[in-house]
């Protein structure tokens, strides 16, 4: 079985977002970049499937050179090789097109990625890739087991979950608790240095959307404190002042 895991390089979840260049670029100063948390789950499940079935894992990232530490970490966790498509990943259709182009060349049985990236939060790339390849797509996937050429999947739905079955090949958007998060060990870190990382130039469409500029939310006004022994006052304020109940 050949698995392609698509990963994003995103600011650490504790990052306070700020912009620079007249609000046209993320201010990367002091920001730690990590594998997208949902993508980490996808990779972790791929590594478990590799241990069980002997599958091969290729990691793909659409990103610029500064994504490479994140890609190396994925290799250290257990991916066999990696591809970086050398482009800024701001548009879902464009990113999907790059992944689909690589997938068409290599006949993967499973294409796994996070349910969404935590920067643009579109949650669309898996579905667009599925459409481009003519593969079914399912998201968000909480459990995944492979039995021969059949995938048994638990997917979260609003207020619950459903159990699904589908034949490979498939494109899946993953989330917890699909696998235990993996932390690279020293041997993994050492071998990651020698694993192949291929850099390819992007193909296909120009971006269908571009970002003109960014903005931060307006700060909230100061908190109004209510004494615990007058807690009932809160309900009156929510009704008469905030008008939300």
């Amino acid at each position: 079985m050949k698995i392609l895991v698509c990963v994003t390089s995103v600011p650490d979840t504790t990052t306070k977002i700020a912009f620079t260049d007249n609000n046209t670029k993320l201010n990367k100063a002091g920001v730690t970049f990590i594998t997208g948390p949902y993508d980490d789950y996808a990779l972790a499940r791929a590594v478990e499937l590799k241990e069980k079935t002997g599958a091969s894992i290729t990691v793909i990232n659409v990103g610029e050179a500064d994504s490479e530490p994140v890609i190396r970490k994925c290799l250290a966790i257990g991916a066999d090789d990696a591809i970086r498509v050398n482009a800024e990943p701001t548009d879902a259709y464009f990113v999907a097109e790059q992944i689909a182009a690589i997938a068409k060349e290599n006949s993967y049985d499973l294409i796994l990625m996070g349910r969404e990236s935590i920067d643009y939060n579109g949650g669309q790339v898996h579905g667009i890739v599925g459409e481009m390849l003519g593969f079914p797509s399912i998201s968000p996937v909480m459990q995944l087991d492979i039995d021969g050429d059949t995938a048994k999947i638990t997917r979260e739905i609003e207020g619950g979950k459903e159990q699904l079955e589908a034949k490979l090949p498939l494109v899946l958007g993953c989330q917890e608790p699909i696998a235990e998060w993996k932390i690279p060990n020293m041997r993994g870190i050492m071998t990651a240095r020698t694993k192949p990382l291929k850099i390819v130039e992007p193909t296909g469409t120009d971006k269908l959307t571009t970002v003109a500029n960014y903005e931060l939310p307006a700060p909230r006004s100061a908190v109004k404190m209510i004494k615990a022994d007058e807690a009932e006052t809160l309900i009156q304020l929510l009704r008469t002042e905030a008008k939300v109940i």
Binding site: Q124, G160, E215, K224, L234, L238, V244, I245
Partner: protein, 320 residues
Amino acid sequence: MSVLIFAELDEGKIKKSSQEALFYGAKVAEQTGTSATAIIIGQADDSELASAGRFGVTKVLHASNAQLNEPNGMAYATVVAAAVQQEGSKVIVLAKSSLADAMTARLAGKLKAGLAANVVELPDLSNGFRVKSSIYTGKAFAYNDLKADIKILAIKKNTITPEETDSTASVDSFSPTLNDADFVISVKSSEKASGDVLLPEADLVVSAGRGLKGPENWGIVEDLAHALHAATACSKPVSDLDWRPHSEHVGQTGLKISPNLYIACGISGAIQHLAGVNSSKVIVVINKDSEAPFFKSADYGIVGDVFDVLPRLTKAVKAL
């Protein structure tokens, strides 16, 4: 050339978030000098379908077929793509949801559409087609220029407050050719909570964290939620500990919500939690630790023991 709005049904009724999408879509139609048409898939009474007219759409395309009674993002995308072709639509509007997300992604692939997700304002058409969207899990906004011929806007809850009229829409039956390939995923079983307010749709949310000390104490959270007719939610540690199901986890890696009121009980307010809830209109924080960072992001705060404060609030709501 009409603006096409995908309106989602829940047990035969147009979902509240889809009502917002219908009104938003009708406003975009006004902006662009076109009409607004809704596409509705699944079983519903004609009166319910026609009621989409209250929000400004003039026509409803209704696709009802036994194969479509179960929500299926891939098949729904085929139906909506056919409606886009029939209507010659250049703008498609829908409300974000689990089903809509699956459908939108396939649709964007089929139509080579420019897509903006988590849209929070009406588009600015003064120089091209620019929409504001929420990014970095609510920590920032982007102004997106949509350059593709076909544009899809997936709007965030509470983006717009629908105004209603007495108008009704005409209802046309719509029966596009379905693809066998869209039905290859088989649903074996599903579990869905019934009777409770669904969290992604909820206007009011009562949420709790580790301060509740254990799942056996959730009764006081549920009591307040029931009294307010609110949904319940939880922080990540709580779902990780299996005190509550993952579907209730709000935050950076859980659900992103934007209700009118978010009451956080015994949640300290880590930046990852805030990211999922900071689009709420009003935030109330109840925590016995006066130094809890969440107070800095709250509109109202109570420093106190949730085991004392929550029953008092429930009693006060019931007395209204």
